[in-house]
Symmetry: C2
Amino acid sequence: MNKINIKEKFGLFSDHWSPKIVGELNGQAVKLAKVQGEFVWHNHENEDELFYIIRGTLKIEFEDKTIELNEGEMLIVPKGVEHRPIAEEEVWLLLFEPMSTKHTGAVESELTVENYEYI
Amino acid sequence: MNKINIKEKFGLFSDHWSPKIVGELNGQAVKLAKVQGEFVWHNHENEDELFYIIRGTLKIEFEDKTIELNEGEMLIVPKGVEHRPIAEEEVWLLLFEPMSTKHTGAVESELTVENYEYI
């Protein structure tokens, strides 16, 4: 049982769109990611997903609207809802989601990560 | 689907040791709490619990050690582990835990909350 310093953890990696696991509880993962640019449209059939912004501004496009999230704001995207994150400048994100969640959902893209790294 | 501004939510209440639910996903709750003083010793038999510090310094006593958490730090307390949070000055906390979790565990105290308020 060790404490997790979020900003220190962000200092350990620099790759984009490649979430790292920093904690696990009740079958859920706490992941950190740095993102920049446009992600792929996708949904998670069975999993709700929480985005919490540690640094920067993230836009999440939905079929009918776009939501802009700034530092200290979070959004829960319900399962099945198509979405696409976009970061004009680098954004630091904290994600809460089931351990089983793949960040591109059922979409296979060059951004798909098969095994998430623990840091 | 609405974004949640954490600091705005903290502006909506001032009572201590009374977590409020701000989001729900995959059977888990995101709760916010303001705490000050000493809590009761307790554990959660079946639930891991995540503490994330938004403001202030929280000490968590365990049977064999004390862990001090500052702003931007988190700790996952595994199920079954006895613990007691202590805040010398007011602390703002984000908690992530199953919807079923009671913050005093099986301990009934004057601090026990039967139904968590949504804000």
